[in-house]
């Protein structure tokens, strides 16, 4: 029994630490992110530079800290956007059912079958690159999973007593859906949000790696991987650091999501 | 079976599921294990085949032709399964593998426990299928479980159980999931098997009507304890335990039309309530002071008739 809580604690610790790092970076980084130092290029990790320096002599740790801002920002906004529309769509599909539901679900299935990265690429090829379009593309990609989870929750709850009572009392559909049912379906949606966050981070990293996501001067771990790849023989830690942090934040949100899901399971 | 105790070890502690069960199953007999849901009858049956989950702890002895099942290694008991002891489960749709042809599922037993090969084995399976009352066995062999009716599926399950002529068959509520008309046929089939193939049967049920129909003797269980054991007609004519008496009263009879059905007041204790005295005491109308403190021992009342109650000799 106790074992299951482990996921939750690990997730919380990882995310909390990274979040702390991000908040700190808003006010302070060990070195200015753009400060170049010709003499200290490709320096290995040391007391001065815990994660070494890059090809311009910039401190990698500071750049990583700055990069966490983008990771959290993109994740948060994309998941919020996707979550908002996804929940809306899923609620409507689940509550009203019928042809509308069929149609929406076919659409969602088609979207899920399509490789996410391909969609994002198509999107930026049409609308251009940059952080804003990256967020929109990733947001759209996350709509189907929210829609699915919300829909099944609504399908389940719409048969429950309290919903029937509310209808009999004359409460409007809109209020029933969002004031009555939605709060009860919140748990799995939160789990989906956590998973969506990690998915968003991975997508942004891939897009930025390809040069089609977050553009300079906005920092991005994914783009750092692209920049560092050429120099890998000279300073492998410049490549290792962003990868580790991407993995950490994804792991963190995955564990968090799993932990919350386990918590729900046990309550039931 | 002597003094069988089964408990389950969980993160929250050990829970006794079955306590101090003793009974005998003779050759050619059909012994009924009857009681309400949760009284431990299924657990007892699974213990005989050592099919309980890993956190189960057994003590006591289960003597099978001179060998103690409780003390056996996994390898030893595995050899007995399917060949000497076999089991029939309640729901035939889920107890058969949905992706295997039904004939093959019977064949697997023969393949494992006999030396028969190829055509001989196929013929044996067909014969067994015919014996359990399945029509057109050669064709039926190649069907899948979902293509058969509930009654036919249960016959397949029975065929699997009797394939190797086991000495003991454990039937866990084999007719509960079936239509009433089919129930009668299956019961008759089991009786025939018992008579003609010489397999003893342990028949588990919560339905007294069925138990009376098929069993030669009956063990009544309550909350993990064996409370009364008697030959069938003896039990129905002269029940000597308050619980058994209560159960008898609760059976609807043909002349009880229009009268209120009797219900034993109170409810079955959960596995987490362990009382020092008699488990039935809270609901017993004959209970007195001693019942709360002390667990009654078995009182022998006659030939193979025992009851676990202080008042056993006096109840009518």
């Amino acid at each position: 029994m106790k074992r299951k809580r482990v996921s939750l604690y690990i997730g919380i610790s990882i995310i909390a630490s990274l979040l702390a790092m991000m908040v700190v970076s808003l006010f302070y980084t060990p070195y200015p992110v753009t400060e170049m130092n010709r003499d200290e290029r490709f320096a290995p990790p040391s007391a001065n530079h815990p994660l070494g320096t890059d090809n311009f002599g910039r401190d990698v740790l500071s750049r990583i800290m700055k990069g966490s801002q983008t990771a959290f920002f993109v994740g948060l906004i994309a998941v919020s956007v996707g979550g908002l529309f996804g929940v809306l769509v899923g609620a409507i599909a689940g509550y009203f059912g019928g042809m509308l539901d069929e149609f929406i679900m076919r659409l969602m299935d088609a979207m899920m079958a399509f490789p996410g990265i391909l969609f994002a690429l198509m999107f930026v090829s049409i609308f251009g690159v940059g952080i804003r379009n990256t967020i929109i593309a990733i947001g759209i990609m996350s709509i189907p999973s929210f829609a699915r989870i919300t829909r099944s929750g609504f399908i389940q709850h719409k048969e429950f007593e309290y919903v029937k009572n509310a209808r009999v009392k004359g409460v409007s559909n809109f209020r029933i859906m969002f004031s009555h049912i939605l709060p009860n379906v919140l748990s799995p949606i939160i789990v989906a949000a956590s998973m969506g966050f990690s998915s968003a981070v991975l997508s942004e990293a891939a897009l930025s790696y390809l040069g089609l996501g977050v553009q300079p001067p906005d920092p991005s771990w994914g783009r750092m991987l692209n920049e560092s790849q050429v120099f890998i023989t000279l300073s492998p830690w410049y490549t290792i650091a962003p990868g580790i942090f991407i993995t950490l934040i994804v792991l963190g949100f995955n564990f968090l999501g799993d932990g919350i899901a386990d918590l729900q399971d046990r309550q039931q | 079976m002597r003094d069988l105790n089964i408990s389950f070890t969980t993160a929250k502690g050990d829970f006794p599921a079955v306590r101090g069960i003793s009974f005998d199953v003779g050759r050619n007999s059909i012994v009924g294990l009857v009681g309400e849901s949760g009284c431990g009858k299924s657990v007892t049956a699974l213990a005989i085949m050592r099919l309980l989950p890993g956190n189960a702890r057994l003590s006591g002895t289960i003597d099978f032709s001179g060998r103690n099942i409780v003390a056996m290694h996994e390898e030893e008991i595995r050899k007995l399964r399917g060949s000497e002891i076999s089991m029939i489960f309640q729901e035939p749709l889920t107890s058969l593998n949905p992706l295997w042809k039904v004939g093959r599922q019977i064949d697997e037993n023969l393949k494992m426990h006999t030396e028969l090969k190829g055509d001989d084995r196929f013929q044996s399976v067909v014969d067994i299928m015919r014996d359990v009352g399945l029509p057109d066995p050669e064709r039926l062999y190649h069907k899948y479980p979902h293509e058969l009716s509930g009654g036919m599926r249960q016959r397949i399950a029975i065929a699997i159980a009797v394939a190797c002529r086991p000495a003991l068959i454990i039937a866990d509520e084999p007719t509960t999931a079936l239509d009433v008309t089919i129930q009668a046929q299956i019961l008759q089939l089991l009786k025939d098997i018992n008579r003609e193939k010489g397999s003893s049967i342990i028949f588990i049920s919560h339905n007294f009507g069925i138990i009376r129909e098929i069993c030669t003797s009956i063990c009544v269980m309550y909350a993990g304890h064996l409370v009364e054991i008697a030959p069938t007609e003896k039990l129905f004519c002269e029940p000597r335990h308050p619980y058994t008496i209560g159960l008898m009263k609760a059976i609807p009879k043909t002349d009880s039309k229009g009268k209120e059905l009797y219900d034993i007041p109170g409810k079955v204790p959960s596995i987490t309530d362990t009382l020092p005295g008699c488990p039935f005491e809270p609901r017993c109308e004959y209970a007195f002071e001693r019942c709360k403190r002390e667990l009654p021992q078995f009182e022998v009342l006659g030939e193979q008739h025992e009851s676990r109650c202080f008042l056993a000799g006096e109840l009518r």
């Binding site: 079958a113 090829s125 049409i126 | 595995r78 060949s83 089991m87 949905p98």
Partner: protein, 313 residues
């Protein structure tokens, strides 16, 4: 028989739908491919000439029909950048991407499924838990990073394979395989983790079923029960997930081809997007979508072959 025809028909309908959507999507694009090619300072005459050459001045429906008929003849238009037919360009790169995808899929199945079963068998004990943890990490690591690291270790440091680049199968099969192995591993890793998780869950679910109890009651050993009875039942949901895995592999290959500089469809796509060579992008999106639709169709067919309960419907 009918069921197969119905599925085939559904697939073709989807194909049509996909092509239509792809076509329409690229029609609403702001920005002008002609200008992209000629530069902003091009004069009217040049723009008109190129537009005519590319057929961009035709009315919409005409172009759509042209597109559709082109699909049947294998003509997907002309690449603006390379001045060669799109289909030709794609075909050149197909072998690379397809081989990559195939090797990845094989790796995923032969590593993921057995580990998943192992993990389920030893469920709550050490091997089971450690496999779970490892697969969690496997899902979190970005595949292109894995690719970079692998290339660094095996390509640059140990020099077991050449770092990047590709040798065609026709020239030297062994070298070809070597150049595809690392990229395939990088692509496969996250999907292997997913399959392990999935397989573990379905196997553990199946183990709770009655027929498993019956199998034990016949005297079968754990291995026999697992592999003869449980496996087939558990694989059915796993096959469903293979459809999603295909999409992952194709998506993954787009990025990985970049990491290892493989001359595949993915890299062509990225280049095309950077220079806004829209006919090319359009063609490749269509190709990738078709691969997915066809693969899902095939998986569906495999389904009906394995599960006898489905045939009857």
């Amino acid at each position: 028989m009918y069921i197969y025809l119905r599925k085939l028909f559904a697939m073709l309908a989807t194909v049509f739908l996909v092509s239509m959507i792809t076509f329409i999507t690229f029609e609403i694009i702001p920005g002008d491919p002609v200008l992209a090619r000629l530069g902003v300072d091009a004069d009217e005459a040049q723009i008109r000439a190129l537009s005519e050459e590319l057929g961009l001045d035709e009315p919409l429906y005409k172009r759509f029909f042209g597109w559709i008929t082109g699909l049947f003849t294998g003509d997907l238009g002309q690449s603006i950048r390379y001045s060669r037919p799109v289909s030709e360009l794609i075909f050149d790169r197909l072998p690379v991407t397809l081989s990559l995808a195939l090797i990845s899929m094989v790796l995923i199945v032969i590593i993921g499924v057995p580990l998943g079963i192992l993990s389920a068998r030893y469920g709550d004990r050490l091997p089971g838990i450690s496999i779970s943890i490892v697969s969690q990490i496997g899902m979190a690591v970005p595949s292109f990073w894995t690719g970079i690291i692998l290339m660094y270790i095996f390509g640059l440091t140990l020099r077991w394979v050449s770092p990047g680049g590709y040798t065609p199968w026709s020239v030297d099969p062994v070298e070809a395989f070597k150049s595809l192995l690392l990229p395939a591993v990088a692509i496969a890793l996250p999907s292997i983790a997913t399959v392990i998780r999935y397989t573990r869950n379905t196997v553990m679910e199946q183990m709770k079923n009655d027929y498993v109890r019956l199998a034990f009651s016949k005297g079968l050993k754990m291995n026999a029960v697992l592999f003869r009875h449980v496996l087939k039942n558990a694989l059915i949901p796993v096959i469903t997930v293979l459809g999603m895995i295909t999409a992952n592999i194709l998506g993954g290959s787009i990025v990985i081809e970049q990491v290892f500089t493989l001359p595949g469809v993915g890299r062509l796509l990225i280049n095309a997007i950077s220079v806004r060579d829209l006919p090319l992008v359009q063609g490749m999106v269509l190709y990738i979508s078709l691969v997915i639709v066809v693969t899902n169709f095939l998986i569906d067919i495999v389904y009906t072959l394995i599960d006898p309960r489905i045939k009857l419907r």
